[in-house]
């Protein structure tokens, strides 16, 4: 899940709603898609901008931990696959910024908010990628956790968001497979490789569980977002589903999930597992994670050092437009 703790606007009952709001809610209840130029409550628009924006930022910042290994990928094939994957993430960012733009905010505005720290990205990308096995763990666990949230979001009420999610999910499931393929190679490789694989699982397991955000069973914000169908499941439901799917995969790899309390619970038909350290989560969100400063400063540097490039292209486009206009005038 690449959007965490997105604040939503207050919740109203059908009786409290204006006729417009009620008609809007009824369309959502009937599973109709809301399209850009249609009327929507301000709260719906604002919440979506926050959520899609945060998701887009996560894709962009998410390029960095994997980009960290592109130049050290161990074979030509792995290098090509990793490059293609990181490039896909940039593409996801592009779809999502475009979806956000249909709500009346520009990509540049959202970028400025990311760079100033006013908008967040997923906590997971503030963890370092230390060995090649981390490329496996990120694909397997991080993309795996993201998919849990993104698959249901294909049915979200906002048309452009839903369509972006459909495209993204196709690529993400491929990403997860490539991550798992790396883990298989490592887990079945030399003792050093297996050690790297286990170490990667040890470091990424709890941060991956944090990706779903703290329990929101009683959250008003979540209830409103769920009523609007821009959030489809509670954080706890998704986390449980992720654990249930991932534990057997770890067993298949011959790796140990770093949770001594992990046990199958026949009654609920799922695993019991330990909560991540939520203090750590809040510290990471606040900017005290292992890589917060590196990630943000890499984005700031890319943006500020790229200013001349963007300005150059804009200046050329303006010149070309006036040249065309002048040529047209001369012809008339």
């Amino acid at each position: 899940m690449y959007a965490q703790m997105v604040k939503s606007e207050g919740m109203k009952s059908l009786e409290e709603m204006s006729p417009e709001e009620r008609a809007f809610q009824e369309r959502i209840d009937a599973n109709e898609k809301i399209e850009p130029k249609e009327w929507m409550p301000e709260g719906y628009r604002k919440t979506l901008i926050r959520q899609i924006g945060q998701h887009a930022h996560s894709e962009i910042v998410g390029q960095l931990p994997e980009g960290n290994w592109v130049t050290r990928a161990p074979t030509l094939e792995r290098k090509a696959i990793l490059l293609a994957k990181v490039q896909d993430e940039a593409g996801h960012g592009l779809y999502l910024y475009s979806a956000a733009e249909t709500l009346g905010v520009t990509r540049d505005e959202l970028t400025e908010k990311l760079l100033s720290g006013d908008m967040k990205y997923s906590s997971i990308f503030n963890y370092p990628t230390l060995t090649w096995a981390d490329m496996g763990a990120v694909g397997w666990l991080v993309d795996g956790a993201a998919i849990m949230n993104q698959v249901p979001l294909q049915r979200t009420s906002y048309g452009p968001y839903s369509r972006a999610m459909i495209r993204i999910c196709k690529e993400e499931s491929f990403h997860q497979r490539q991550g798992f393929a790396i883990m298989m190679k490592m887990a079945n490789g030399t003792p050093e490789q297996k050690e790297m694989a286990q170490d990667a699982l040890n470091r990424f397991w709890f941060p991956a569980l944090m990706m779903f955000g703290p329990s929101d069973a009683d959250s008003v914000h979540s209830a409103q977002s769920m009523a609007w169908k821009i959030k489809m499941n509670t954080n706890d439901e998704l986390r449980q589903k992720f654990v249930d799917e991932t534990v057997p995969q770890a067993e298949f790899l011959g790796l140990t999930v770093p949770d001594k309390t992990l046990a199958w619970n026949e009654e609920k038909g799922g695993y019991d597992f330990a909560e991540p350290d939520w203090n750590e989560f809040f510290e990471v969100i606040k900017g005290n994670g292992p890589c917060n400063e590196e990630r943000l400063s890499a984005r700031q540097k890319a943006w500020s050092e790229g200013a001349w490039f963007r300005e150059g292209l804009t200046a050329y486009a303006d010149k070309a437009a006036s040249r065309r206009a002048a040529a047209q005038m001369a012809a008339e």
Binding site: E66, G67, P74, T75, R107, T190, F252, A298, W308, E311
Partner: protein
């Protein structure tokens, strides 16, 4: 569960072997007299795309705009793909059991055969883009000729690569024009990049015994025939970009093709080859 069924696709090496069985017959591949020159020349082709692809991949996640980030990664990806084909063929010609990965990851600097131009650090994006253009203009023309090579294997690789590289050239020349004729700053940066890179361009056209041997066998064109076309492309684009051709010797920096490189290549390889060197024999 585990619900990731196609993670266990057949090994890529097995697939490559199957594909190799369908390769066109190519008498040059087993020509003993030509072998040393052809091997060297194929390494030049593969190493140029490997080293330039690697340099471009360093931009991944750090581009000035999303579209540019994606385009740089895409170009790098094309070049890495081309590397796999050229170096695999080089390994076949050498016939010593070395794969494309062995050649990429287990040779030291003096065995690399790429141009010095492509190993220079990225510096700012102006240098990266200008280098891209100067190389693309050469690469495109070379591949166009290679698509009609007397070696069917070379012609096949060239035909595939040409599709990609014609787009690289279209994009890089367009950007050189836009940034050259953009703001004062973008103009100055592009001009400075051109001045810096110019002495490295002549190496592309400086033929030695290897180039002459493959040209004589009809495998590759004479580099002296490629030069005028390159010059025309460069003149046209620079003039539209309002950039001035530098008044410096264009072939002052050579030697890469013979394995005498700049200081930069060693660091590039140290990074690229780290895992293969630190864990010899491991499979990734």
């Amino acid at each position: 569960m585990p619900s990731l069924p196609d993670a266990a696709t057949p090994d890529a090496a097995a697939l490559a072997k199957q594909a190799a069985a369908h390769q066109s017959h190519d008498p040059h591949v087993a020509d003993v007299d030509l072998q040393p020159a052809l091997f060297d020349w194929l390494c030049r082709m593969g190493d140029n795309s490997l080293v330039l692809g690697h340099r471009l991949s360093e931009w991944c996640g750090h581009g000035p705009a999303l579209e540019e980030d994606i385009a740089l990664a895409n170009t790098a990806l094309d070049l890495i793909g081309q590397t796999q084909m050229w170096l695999a063929l080089a390994g076949e010609v050498e016939d010593a059991g070395r794969t494309a990965d062995d050649l990429a990851y287990l040779r030291d600097t003096s065995k690399f055969r790429n141009l010095k131009l492509v190993e220079l650090p990225n510096d700012d994006l102006a240098v990266t883009l200008m280098r891209g253009f100067l190389f693309d203009a050469f690469h495109f023309e070379l591949l166009k000729e290679l698509a009609g090579s007397s070696s069917p294997r070379v012609a096949e690789i060239a035909a595939k690569a040409l599709k990609e590289v014609s787009y690289h050239l279209e994009r890089s020349s367009d950007l050189v024009v836009r940034l050259g004729d953009g703001t004062t700053e973008s103009h100055e940066r592009m001009q400075a990049a051109l001045n810096r890179l110019w002495p490295y361009t002549g190496e592309m056209f400086k033929a030695d015994g290897v180039d002459e041997a493959v040209a004589e066998a009809g495998i590759a064109p004479k580099l002296s025939d490629v030069l005028p076309v390159w010059q025309r492309t460069v003149d046209d684009v620079l003039s539209e970009a309002t950039l001035a051709k530098p008044d410096r010797k264009f072939d002052a920096q050579t030697g890469g093709k013979q394995g005498r490189h700049t200081e930069h290549l060693g660091f590039l390889l140290a990074e690229m080859q780290f895992l293969q060197r630190a864990y010899p024999g491991a499979s990734w």
